[in-house]
Symmetry: C2
Subunit: 130 residues, 2 copies
């Protein structure tokens, strides 16, 4: 597989993650994450969440409480190292909270593992940019 | 190399990073980071910094402005995938700022690459825990 094809696969997996988040679709989010442990997740301002089960529960809670959320992803930098890859990007989020439009900027590190040629999310770390 | 030996090497590299940070020793910090690009770093609340040169400049600025900083690292979780590894941990930081003792908690994702049997830091992402 060429380096470019690798990059495309990782970038597609990263886009699928944000598409699932934006659509608040828990099944799509479930499909994005690796089925093998360890699975780790740090939502902005939250402590570390471990295990696939707890990470998926956290997404359910987030989706249950969200109404409208839109992502513009910028500054995407993919790095591939064998069957591991990490993507750095900025999430420019527009959200409706209590009837008001709120814009926030989150810096994210997304880590993927390759399983049978496909990339799956194994670690997400999002944090507010000052 | 056994799985345990791998784990030990990654955990030692993670400890060396915090030892360099705590001692405010720029040469030790320089030795911790991979000499190959891409190098990425997100300090708490900062935007992404790219390239080894700019990341090392950021450490110089941080070290120049720091007086006393102590780390207690807890909840360390290493994950190894071939020649890549990531460590999740909580930095319990005690710092003296303007003559006052300040305690902060930072959640970190540290990513390492293996070069000739040694693990080097390639990506650091630290963010405040609410």
């Amino acid at each position: 597989m060429s380096e470019l094809e690798n990059d495309v696969g990782v970038l597609e997996a990263n886009s699928a993650f944000y598409k699932a988040f934006e659509s608040l679709d828990i099944e799509a989010m479930n499909a994005v994450w690796d089925h093998q442990e360890p699975i780790l997740c740090v939502h902005p301002g939250w402590p570390l969440i471990q295990t696939r089960e707890r990470v998926m529960e956290s997404w359910s809670r987030i989706f249950d409480n969200a109404t409208l959320i839109q992502f513009a992803i910028t500054g995407t930098k993919p790095v591939i190292e064998g069957d591991a890859a990490w993507v750095s990007c900025t999430e420019n989020i527009t959200q409706v909270l209590d009837g008001r439009v709120v814009e926030v900027k989150i810096q994210a590190t997304n880590l993927f593992r390759r399983q049978l040629g496909n990339w799956y999310l194994a670690h997400h770390h999002g944090s507010p940019v000052g």
